[in-house]
Symmetry: C2
Subunit: 599 residues, 2 copies
């Protein structure tokens, strides 16, 4: 049937009001007069009747147009197409036996239409509004308002909402104040990844969008606000990796008069509450804890997925004198056993070798433990003592395969740590329905930046050294540990925090350890140093990445799936075409112009 | 006593944990061992004892250092100064009779110190941490972290927190989803007051910071999200008037399948809930309503303070033939009676005349109603009929004074509407403890912009005309009314909303009525027009200014008092010195440079 423009004219709501959502009606509602509003999921004509599945945010209800009830209403219904917007008034009826749909909460009933209004028509959408769609992500993002109608996307938004409220409920009960920090903040020369915003009344001067509210939340503690939290937008102007967005949301909190133990205890209880309230999932109590050193030793990474074993083993000592020169010469040699993996093909091993090269590995040594021999290109170099040592240390059994990395520790850990994850993925070693948090503690305070040839803060320069490490921080920077802690979940870092420096003198010492000249420190962070002199209480905090957390909670592949209007990896919005060029007049008003080279 | 650096060394928290806040202890806690932490409000030495008022966010507790309990703890306490940060462990004691302080919730008790730690020392603050301080606002803003410690500022933050949570609680219960909209959005040529943000990966392209999430919230409705809300930061880069900030916070909501009546009903219930929960104040139910025309007629302004009368009266017809040429010639003549105001001095009247000139008035005609005469420079021009007409229309009584404005309607209304407020202020006609909301409805859809010589949307171009006004909008733009509504409170606009256009055709018609060429409309708002074609439901919404509302709730003089880290009228932060210059390197990376003229 061809649509005519008159058929597509939308009718006014008038005094119609919804009586129910599309997921509410049950067999107990039979004979009730109702008014539903929603979208046509699909229409089918059957035995002289027209059936519509009417959909809203909450669910679906079957709606029937029967010519014997209202001939005109039935006749007009032939115009209906998918995604048309309707209001229907009618009476709830039990579906005939055999026609019930146990899969649908409203599947026992249908609404027999007395009258209806066409609230709006719809063009045919570029993809069907269904659970799974065969369409590129760019089309989904261009039509995000249609993509969001799909059940999975809708559910993601609802889970995000529920999780956010669960965070707030918990923190409100714990006596936190939700306080807002500015989005137009001070730009610093250090902030290479700050978004800059020119200020019209102050030509030549710029704000920066905050990468985090770190300094403001510390100032709240100086201000005596005791316990602060905020669900806060943060910004980073960088080349986007697969799973980053230029703006992202943090659950940010800070406590006065609290130490690391108190923050971890509180944050842990909070995360348990959020999972319970949002997904009805009970997380372990308490969460397991690993020191950073232990995590690196056993898992090769600082955000381990501990849902499965496959631990890394340090075998440096065992092969220290080996005839296999690569092993003998390496600073660190580690092994990873895949139990009963000796069946891997040459091709499999080649693929894994390519995989570890991503992480800087030169290659991938391996040994298959067969009944009669160690099958391996390197087996011949290994002495009986070395074989015995490896067998004992690694608990080798017939049918296993062992992988080795021998190189600088960063490479060994990155290569085997990620190989571990890759093997788990390939051989389905992970229970994907499980959520397994783990705390990582005792991080190094500083790390050496080989490019800048100086020490930089591993978390940020406001992180407190551990007790007694104040001098180590200056004398042997690489050995100083921080009062810092990350929460990891299923191999992702979902939260991180620290005890902060609350003494101006120690903060100045930290800037010195980082090689920031006093004048520069005063210029950039003078307001913090000043504030610390007026009675700053001991304080500590933590921040959680809401996008990441909701991604994991919903089993989504990307944080883009849980952000209502995300940007692409090129940081653009395919729906609105932001960012976009602006007029010269606008730039002139800001005292700016484009560099010629730009074109 | 001189401070030595060793005395100022801060001690570690160790395993000390607070047992109570500083407002919790009561006479029933006597003999309890407690641990309190907070700031020294003041110290006094008396009869060999040292008394400290220890303060935290919640209140104060008296703490006593007694040499007979712990001589060393007492001796060390001589170092204590205002704003030092302490942890004390001790025992709750009843204060001696006669020493109790009924003004303080903890005034019946004190804590006898067993041991204590100096958590941090403090320089002498630039102003005392007290309710009222004699200090410039610029000093308060420079040391905002100290200003916020003052009881009034602290209370403002707590009220803001409570109000925000009350909004959320209400909306969560009403089935709204809190959904986040982007802060990096599309810039439009129209957006003369947009903050612009250059995008590093897209040289020459800019984001804009949103003045409101208007389009995104409409897209949420198209996306089937049904009921959306957000406590959202908005931005406006303009010369700041007394009570504006470059960033401000809105309580923003939108409903599908809802009309004006439903939104107003819900918003009204929400505001009542927020006042009840936050301040335990019962607002009227229902809120009174005025049409825009009525508000302008009676109050001269579209955000009337209806806590007092002093209505404006249209007397144009009465004086239409007057010998007083100014009255006879004017398009509109209005009068305002100040009952028993005939005692105003010449000087008073001169001041009021100067006052109305702010609003474009040429002068201020007045008449004092005396027992035997109308005392006035203009009385001699008024005929007995005119006097009789005025007396009847204005209900004039002996001792009154009447003010007149005769000019273009905008000037008459602005001058007398604001004079009305000024008189109320001067003569204390307002009950300042009262909160009086009023809805203003039936706004004009369009208004003529004399500068641009074209019609512009009075609210925004997405506002629906009233039913039947679709054609009026095109044919007689000045007469079309909008489905728009504002909520005013005590003379401030605190909220505003509208039913939105949900038909692409009507939206295009609106752009045409605004003289926006089709191509330009497509370029700027194409994504909205496209979205409206895919089954947009009828929808409507409203947004409340949180800063303004909390300012009124706390009786503050400025929104700066209820924003944690506000900016000045020059849009700068006196604490951090934002905005500030950035390096040429940073600008070059963004493909930008400063215009020479800037220096």
């Amino acid at each position: 049937m061809t649509e005519t423009s008159s058929q597509r004219v939308s009718e006014a709501l008038g005094d119609w009001r919804r009586s129910h959502h599309c997921s509410q009606l049950r067999i107990t509602d039979v004979d009730r007069e109702v008014c539903l509003m929603g979208w046509v999921q699909f229409r089918r004509d059957h035995g002289g009747l027209i059936f519509i599945d009417l959909r809203d945010l909450n669910g679906r209800t079957q709606v029937v147009f029967n010519p014997e009830i209202n001939a005109e209403a039935h006749a007009r219904a032939h115009v209906l197409r998918s995604e048309y917007v309707l209001a229907v008034q009618g009476v709830v009826r039990a579906r005939p036996e055999g026609m019930r749909n146990a899969a649908l909460p409203t599947g026992d009933v249908e609404v027999e239409v007395r009258s209806w209004k066409l609230l709006n028509s719809a063009k045919t959408p570029p993809f069907p509004i269904e659970e799974r769609v065969e369409v590129t992500e760019s089309t989904r993002l261009e039509y995000r308002y249609l993509d969001l109608r799909r059940p999975q996307c809708t559910r993601n938004m609802i889970v995000r909402h529920k999780a956010t409220q669960a965070f707030r409920d918990f923190l409100n009960r714990e006596g936190f104040l939700e306080l807002e920090t500015p989005i137009l903040t001070k730009s610093t020369p250090e902030g290479a990844r700050d978004f800059l915003v020119p200020s019209r009344p102050n030509p030549g001067a710029f704000y920066a969008l905050p990468q985090s509210p770190q300094l403001f939340k510390q100032l709240f503690m100086v201000a005596g606000m005791d316990r602060y939290y905020q669900v806060v937008r943060c910004f980073r102007d960088e080349d986007l990796r697969a799973d980053r967005q230029p703006e992202f949301t943090q659950i940010d909190l800070e406590l006065s008069f609290a130490d690391q133990a108190q923050v971890m205890e509180l944050a842990e209880a909070m995360i348990r509450h959020v999972f319970k309230e949002t997904l009805d999932i009970a997380l372990p109590n308490p969460f397991p804890r690993l020191t950073h050193a232990q995590a690196m030793h056993d898992y090769g990474v600082d955000k381990p997925d501990i849902r499965f074993d496959l631990l890394l083993h340090d075998v440096t000592d065992i092969v220290a004198g080996s005839q296999f020169k690569l092993f003998a010469a390496a600073k660190l040699v580690k092994a990873l056993v895949l139990p009963q993996g000796a069946g891997l093909s040459r091709n499999d091993i080649d693929q894994l070798t390519e995989f570890v090269k991503i992480y800087g590995a030169q290659g991938l040594a391996w040994i298959k433990i067969k009944a009669d021999e160690w099958q391996s290109p390197i087996a011949k170099f290994l002495s009986p003592e070395e074989r015995a040592g490896l067998t004992a240390a690694l608990g080798l059994r017939e049918g296993d395969i062992v992988f080795f990395q021998a190189a600088a520790p960063e490479i060994v850990n990155a290569a085997l740590g990620n190989l571990r994850l890759e093997l788990a993925e390939r051989f389905d070693l992970v229970d994907k329905t499980r959520f397994q948090p783990v705390w990582i503690t005792d991080f190094p305070l500083l790390e050496h930046d080989p490019d800048a040839q100086r020490w930089v803060a591993r978390h940020h320069p406001f992180t407190s050294p551990q007790d007694g490490h104040e001098e180590i921080m200056v004398e042997r920077p690489g050995e100083a540990l921080a009062k810092a802690y990350d929460l990891c979940l299923n191999g992702y870092e979902v939260g991180g925090g620290s005890v902060r420096i609350h003494s101006a003198a120690l903060q100045e010492q930290m800037f010195a350890a980082l090689g920031i000249p006093e004048q520069e420190a005063r210029g950039q962070f003078g307001f913090l140093l000043k504030a610390l002199e007026f009675g700053a209480p001991p304080h500590a905090g933590i921040a959680f990445g809401l996008d990441r957390l909701v991604m994991l909670m919903t089993g989504s592949a990307s944080i883009r799936d849980v952000i209502a209007f995300p940007k692409t990896q090129k940081a653009s919005c395919l729906m609105t075409q932001a960012p976009s060029p602006v007029s010269t007049v606008q730039l002139r008003e800001l005292g700016m112009k484009l560099r010629e080279a730009v074109k």
